[in-house]
């Protein structure tokens, strides 16, 4: 007597850029489509630059978002200004679209806490990238609880990878989101790998979206490399949450075209064929094909935008590289609202130590 389950899956745009089914009404907006494409292109350019900076030792380890730009860009596009993003560490795409500055992202991966200070008021309440896997899902539930308690029509959006769906935090978060009907959307970036662990070793269920069933919340899959699918389903999930109709788990099927991070060598554990196949399905080219076919985009516009994007990235790199050094006291000054008087001796010790000139500053 087996338990039976059926999980919806949405895709409009086939890997070759052809439509599989007719588009929803909202998609009849060339500006929107071009904006999404341009943002994806910009994100990829920045991402490549970050990897280059790591290779030359100008930032530390970096987690590339190559091949997963559609998910993050749509998240950033659809969220309202006063919604809150609670991202993981592979969310450059969503963060940039939300208003985090490129130089902040570089500062963060460059080992400088100011990278999470987020100067743009648009992202003043967004969380910084979260490294301890899946913990952010619970923070998002806390944020959503605050919205609900205060009666605000705001949504918390949180992201994570496929691997993260195995960790208790994620599962406890789905459960409380359901129990309390929280205005939160869980976006799983299923890029098929958790470092070297493939999706199928992570979980025996055919979809990750069906983890929603155990929490009694909505769950579905989309082709995460199809901006139309992501946009359509995320839009509905956000609206449902905003109207107090409960949380959603949205599993976005994608692929990590890069190594896990710059510290990883994916060729150790996965075959070339698989990666080659994934390149044929990546989101940028797919959307570009569609836009070109529908005469919404052309080579000239591509070149113009590339030049503009290049310029923005370059300016950010310069801003990053010329940022003034941190003050030694910064390392202590934000640990508590006020450094405790009881630890005054430690402050003195620290400043003395730094002035002794150990290491870099």
């Amino acid at each position: 007597m087996p338990l039976t389950i059926k999980v919806p899956y949405t895709r409009y745009l086939a890997p070759d850029g052809q439509l599989q089914s007719s588009l929803p009404a909202w998609a009849d907006d060339p500006d929107l489509l071009c904006r999404l494409y341009k943002q994806m292109r910009l994100t990829r350019l920045f991402d490549q630059k970050a990897i280059a900076l790591q290779r030359t030792g100008r930032i530390g380890t970096y987690a590339s978002t190559l091949g997963q730009e559609a998910i993050g860009v749509v998240i950033g596009e659809l969220m309202h200004g006063d919604d809150v993003l609670v991202p993981y560490y592979r969310d450059t795409a969503a963060q940039l679209r939300r208003g985090v500055k490129m130089e902040e992202i570089l500062l963060y991966w460059g080992g400088d806490e100011r990278g999470c200070a987020f100067v743009d008021p648009a992202v003043a309440q967004d969380f910084p990238p979260c490294v301890p896997i899946a913990t952010q899902a619970l923070h998002a539930c806390g944020v959503a609880s605050a919205f609900k308690i205060r009666g605000e029509h705001r949504v918390a959006v949180t992201t994570c990878g496929d691997g993260a769906t195995s960790k208790g935090d994620f599962l406890e978060a789905l459960n409380v989101a359901g129990a309390w009907q929280l205005p939160v959307v869980f976006v799983v970036n299923n890029n098929q790998w958790a470092i070297s662990v493939p999706r199928k070793l992570q979980c025996a269920a055919p979809t990750l979206a069906q983890k929603a069933a155990g929490a009694g919340i909505a769950g579905e899959q989309v082709d995460g490399n199809d901006v139309f699918a992501v946009y359509d389903r995320l839009q509905e999930a956000l609206e449902r949450a905003r109207r107090g109709k409960g949380p959603t788990l949205l599993e976005c099927m994608s692929y990590r075209l890069s190594d896990h991070t710059t510290a990883d060598d994916a060729s150790r554990y996965r075959g070339e064929d698989e990666v080659k196949q994934a390149w044929a399905e990546e989101p940028l080219k797919r959307l570009q094909n569609f836009l070109v076919e529908h005469r919404l985009w052309d080579e000239q516009r591509e070149q113009d935008w590339l030049a503009e994007a290049q310029k923005r990235v370059q300016a950010a790199v310069e801003a990053y590289e010329t940022s003034v050094p941190q003050q030694p006291g910064d390392a202590l000054d934000y640990v508590y609202a006020q450094w405790p008087a009881a630890k005054a001796d430690q402050r003195a010790m620290w400043l003395e130590r730094v002035s002794r000139g150990n290491g870099e500053g």
């Binding site: 913990t135 923070h139 806390g142 308690i149 918390a156 609202a337 009881a342």
Partner: protein, 330 residues
């Protein structure tokens, strides 16, 4: 001026403090397992649901990781969550959120976000409770930069310190000795006055020896001091109360005066807060100490089931023995 009560237990004082904080500030909310309809398994949250409703008194699903993580998210949004962990022995699942997030959110974001949350939890043995209901692991938290760890040992301190903990702009771990919950009720005025989170409390002045303690052991320390007094020994008793950060200045001044010191705590000896206090005192008072500092603690074993717990806990006789050793040190 607040209402005056003639007999308030530590448990009731905790309850009064939460009520007051919730009345003063709508951002204060209470969450945890069984805190709502049941008023908490010890009744610390009694009446809160009735007065403040479902939105501010939240019965959570059974998941401590979640309680920790939710509180971080709420606090980042400007709420002031006061979360109950049902017993300290069940806090470990929340550890990642305490260490990696609550303690770091402000620092990580250069002050853009912060985490004004309180985790309350009953701590310590001595009430014949089942396994895992008698932990005293304050040392683990005292080693985490970015949080405060507060342990009241009287109704008045529970009241004033909890109010201060809820006010505090940073995360506070507030540990309530279960053995004291219903012991020695005292008069208390619900005046809303906060006690400082960064000072020790000198409960008894003396000149021959300093007894330093916190939590339930403060009571055996006071008893030991009273007995010594009868033998003409003048003992100063200090309740550390805030075991992180520790107000070493007060402790230093006392031991500088008395020259002798005994530290009493219920946690197992090794790498406990007693070692930090002792080391800091030695660092500050090298030339003024008349005898090595004595530690009276539990042995390095897990809290035993309750038949052995009276041995496990430091008793008055053990403290007297240590005081003897300190006083008679040649």
């Amino acid at each position: 001026m607040g209402e005056k009560y003639s007999k308030v237990t530590l448990l009731e004082a905790v309850n009064l403090a939460m009520k007051r904080a919730m009345r003063e500030d709508d951002n204060v909310i209470v969450l945890g397992e069984d805190v709502g309809a049941n008023g908490g398994v010890f009744r610390a949250t009694l009446g809160l649901r009735e007065e403040f409703g479902f939105k501010r008194v939240l019965d959570t699903p059974l998941a401590e990781t979640m309680i920790g993580g939710l509180s971080v998210g709420m606090a980042a949004q400007g709420l002031k969550p006061v979360a109950e962990i049902q017993f300290l022995g069940f806090i470990y699942a929340a550890m990642e959120h305490l260490v990696s997030h609550a303690a770091r959110l402000r620092n990580r974001t250069r002050g853009r976000l912060s985490c004004p949350m309180v985790i309350r939890s009953p701590m310590g043995a001595g009430i014949r409770a089942p396994e895992h209901h008698g932990e005293a692991v304050e040392a683990m938290f005292a080693h985490i930069p970015g949080v405060r760890v507060v342990i009241p040992s009287s109704p008045a301190r529970a009241y004033g310190l909890l109010l201060a903990a809820i006010d505090d702009p940073d995360p506070v771990i507030f540990l309530e000795p279960t053995r004291l919950y219903r012991m020695n009720p005292q008069p208390l005025e619900d005046h809303g006055q906060r006690l400082p989170l960064d000072t020790c409390f000198t409960l008894r002045e003396g000149s021959d020896l300093t007894l330093i303690s916190w939590g339930a052991s403060v009571h055996e320390s006071l008893q030991a001091a009273a007995q010594l007094e009868e033998h003409g020994v003048s003992v100063e008793v200090i309740d550390v109360a805030c075991v992180s950060p520790i107000d070493m200045d007060t402790l230093e001044a006392s031991v500088r005066k008395t020259g002798r010191c005994v530290i009493v705590h219920e946690a197992p000896r090794s790498c406990a807060v007693g070692a930090e206090i002792a080391t800091s005192l030695y660092e500050r008072l090298w030339l003024d100490l008349q005898a090595p500092i004595q530690r009276v603690t539990a042995p390095d074993i897990p809290p035993p089931l309750f038949r052995m717990e009276q041995h496990y806990l430091p008793q008055v006789a053990d403290i007297l023995q240590a005081c003897d050793d300190a006083l008679n040190y040649a």
